[in-house]
Symmetry: D2
Subunit: 351 residues, 4 copies
């Protein structure tokens, strides 16, 4: 008995990664993969890694009637501003939604105008949707009709900071999140900035003012510390294809010893199936290099008590724990399966 899944917007990188993961998942079946641009073409003509894997599966046009009749759960892997017009049709037909776009991430509908430039068309459904970070919202995800998967930079930022905020360990007035991320984060559409000769070897700050993920990070961190906070956040494009590291530079709110901090992280993350706390070894801090191809998030930190400062790190594969892997993790929770089902692949190394 498998659950029938459809992927709307399956030709991009998160859609392709979802296809790859679901094709290996023992308890689900992909019944449709839509793409406006590539409808009618074999999936494997676009996702070359999937050659010979999906038989003759072709991308289809989006036909909502067909999808609600065939699928039990849908992945929405579409650009910002699309999902909010689609989700109601699905949930009213009893189809649950895992949304990889930002349309259901922000609790306050007005923020969509400020950060994304569109008016949210379904504030009611937004009100019941759940932010799909299992480490924080696992129980709500279980029964949600719409789960909004976090952005990749947001996933890393929040996971790096969550225990520190929950336990009041840091000065919430001065949090600087510096993110470094690979090129796959920006999706499958070529541009001058993504052209290989221009994109290789960059260390390029982008959206240093007003990065959209700031909104969801502030929302979630504010919830965790019970106080409206603001952060400084600057993402940087680096030469990798995959991988994201968030370095949160923080000042300690009180004189702590390092053990207290470790204990806080161990308490919050000790039982998490996809979080690994890193504190020793030849590479002493988390590095996305060692999670590539897996759903792991490696967490670690550096503390200088003499300066009352710390750096909190979270390393992920941006297409896995930062996108499709987390979506499958949420799906597993929604379907009452073991959260790790179909996600047991170990990181590839070296790569």
């Amino acid at each position: 008995m498998t659950t029938r899944i459809a992927i709307i917007g399956a030709s991009g990188y998160t859609g392709g990664e979802a296809l790859r993961l679901l094709a290996m998942h023992p308890r689900v079946e992909v019944v449709a993969a839509t793409s406006r641009e590539y409808a009618g073409k074999p999936v494997a003509a676009i996702h070359l890694n999937l050659r010979s894997v999906l038989g003759t599966m072709k991308f289809s046009e989006l036909n909502m009637e067909k999808i609600v009749s065939e699928a039990e759960l849908v992945f929405l892997s579409v650009p910002a501003g699309v999902s909010h017009t689609m989700a109601r049709r699905l949930v009213e037909a009893g189809v649950r939604v895992v949304d990889l776009s930002p349309d259901f991430r922000l609790r306050d509908p007005r923020l969509y105008e400020e950060w994304y430039g569109f008016t949210h068309g379904d504030p009611e459904l937004l009100a019941e949707s759940v932010y799909g970070l299992p480490e924080i919202h696992r129980d709500e995800i279980r029964n949600a009709r719409v789960v909004a998967c976090p952005g990749c930079n947001a996933t890393a930022a929040i996971l790096a900071l969550a225990p520190a905020l929950r336990e009041g360990l840091i000065d919430v007035e001065h949090i600087a999140v510096d993110v470094k991320v690979g090129s796959s984060e920006a999706g499958r559409q070529p541009s001058q900035g993504s052209h290989h000769p221009e994109r290789a070897n960059v260390i390029r700050p982008y959206e240093a003012e007003g990065h959209r993920h700031v909104a969801e990070v502030e929302q979630e961190l504010s919830l965790l510390c019970g106080k409206r906070l603001q952060i400084a956040m600057v993402p940087h494009a680096v030469g990798n294809v995959r991988g994201a590291l968030a370095t949160a530079h923080v000042w300690l709110s009180d004189s702590l010893d390092e053990t207290t901090i470790w204990r806080a992280y161990a308490r919050h993350y000790g039982k998490e199936p996809f979080i690994r706390i890193v504190r020793s070894g030849p590479v002493k801090y988390p590095d996305p290099k060692y999670v590539i191809g897996s759903n792991f998030c490696d967490i670690g930190f550096a503390v200088e008590l003499s300066r009352r400062r710390a750096a909190l790190f979270a390393a992920i594969d941006n297409l896995m724990k930062g996108a499709a892997g987390q979506a499958v993790q949420c799906m597993n929770i929604m379907l009452g399966m073991d959260e790790r089902e179909g996600l047991n692949m170990l990181p590839i190394s070296p790569v």
Copy 2:
């Protein structure tokens, strides 16, 4: 019921990849992982990708008594010149051997002096060992006591050429195999040449005279065409970490049409679980990029009938189909399992 496996030499890249694969394999169990250099240290302190995965497994000293009492099959992941002194002890105790080193690849023991500079210590066992390329020696692998996994460059070279040679399609006097391979091929030991600033961005020919894999490639190709042949082979180090592409430049032995060539390849590889024939799409020829993390070998070719020449391509992940993946494939065959068991992971893309 799982089969008990030991890995001798588990701290290198092929050993680490074997550990990763066997940890995900549903029907085997790793009972020992030896390392002279790291005995006593946690496996995850060396293979950082395996953090939290193998529990508290530590590298152990090599204790042959213990291994023959605990393991049913052993992976030998050791440098050239070591396995030939170890294998007999194992097989006499009824333990089967998958050797990832070159010690059992060459049928003629005298070739070890010429190519590897040591005198083979066990010509008798060599005589019964099998070259572990399932696409060519599947039936012999099934019951072999010692299977010698091919080198990564050799795997790509042979798979690119095999059907053409079997069917007499090309001039065997003029075969030039140009290989490009990533840095993981050279193993885990740092050197001046592998130092990142020196190794990044190279397009560096190496062993352009007397590359050791030439010996096994000539052996296997000669067997396939029934005639002693010699090849020209030059490997090139390129900037990748993983991936190998063999480009065999050949001249066609007769006026063929392209269909004949396709049919020959389809006939020989059509049912192979890990070979994919590539003939179209935005990337028209095989590229290791699209097999990374999997055991696939992508095969393709370009034909210029007007010049009576062709280029035959084979693309692999050098640590998977070129090493540990192929070793697991051989193990599955030896143990009578489905050949794909534990090897169903799809290539990661983009990466």
Copy 3:
């Protein structure tokens, strides 16, 4: 006293590299840089490396009247099929032409239909134009009105093979040229294939049948050996941005000793200002890594007398000796300057 230069098509990579080189050249002055796409925009808005360097220089529309009145020599850095319609207007006004496009490379005008798909519009001017490889055509370049700079892959292929062919050292029936080249070779226009996530880490054969540079390589090699020959040539895109290596796999025409071969290369290249013969050291063969940023071509080879085969290598920076650097070298010769003027920059390493 400086010579006035115009660059037509200055927004691409070869145009940008020409701008960079000419801006550092002590005896020339760039008086115009045209670009249809970016006319009116500051040059430094496109070529970010040239920020603050060229003052307020802007790209201009192509105005042939203005160019012939202002410039003494013109670089044509335009796509195939454009120069042949422009060059006459320039030379008739007494303006000399260094063409970086393929329009004046092939002696036989009919070949343009076969290889490039257009009918050459000026066979007469073609007849007097000179193939701009100074190591072979230095004397003709001196007084040429139109010099056609070779393609980057062709430059490497020809320089690797020239002495061997001139001296009849190899079997001309079986020459396989395997080229590996970085992404800047394909120019500044984004595409799906050049999108960073798709282009990074590739080892991707392209144009394996009918690569356009084959035509000019065969032309020049045939001239050198005095016999119409054909080659097998396959370029491969690799992950670098810059750099090209040609590996020519050849069979020796006679039993030679290695010294004879070295002597042939030393004789032909010993006085060449931009050719370095590589025969020892930690990196024993040429690698483009060590010529990046310079106009050098490193030449070397591997010989296996027992197999009567050799590999001949040439390594270049594809935008320097493979394009703009060679164009400046030709310009220097045409203007009667020291050939090295403005080209004395040493390779950057490590990079």
Copy 4:
């Protein structure tokens, strides 16, 4: 008339880069290049990019008598803890010193014990030495006997922050400097961490507690703002070979408008020959990609007045403005030459 220069420790990356730059410099001559490890070997056998360039120059043993008799100025390109024992011998013989090591960077000799673990042997000479950042100490450099070139990460950090501190624009209690840097920064010695398969594709924090450059950055920034300050600083190794970017996350000390900030930077850097202020274009913020191969430092920033925060960026080539280029710039100042002499090479792009 050229000035005679010796390089002590010329086999490493900064030494090699100094050799390359001095070989192209029109007004100096390298009379000795020492190396303990490679004494007697041709320089070009180690620095492969310099093949054919330096004639037959060989590395020599360090012979202080010979150096003081032959050289007028010496570059010390040695590990920490060596220069402080050598410099006096040189200056007393009238030889001026450009030290690329940290031994003369910190004004307070006691800091060497704390940060470097050795007792400074020459506090007197330390007292007169000058921190070799021309943008801050140009006048003192002119007549200094010992100039201590800054570390690469320190150069970027200080140049990003200097105008903001000088003009009191930011909260000096909360400065977080996040640095990303390529592998050449760590020098020429291979290690497990620099082994290509392990070092490629990293986003690896290192020395996140107690990075040694913190000492010099705090020293210089404290001088600029007239107040003892402390910073949070975390360097990250990224996959590049060359390039460093410092991102300083700061909070604005007062409600400023963006123009005030631009003016401060323009005022301090407007006439600097090697600083370029970046504020627009397709890549809006500084990226080391566009300074590679040059001595430029690109400076820029992002301001969010609503959050009273800013990010200040500085991008350099770590071996040029971050090491040997800056050393040559200091040398030029010391010798009364044009500061740009021999440093007019433009950034290579794309690379």
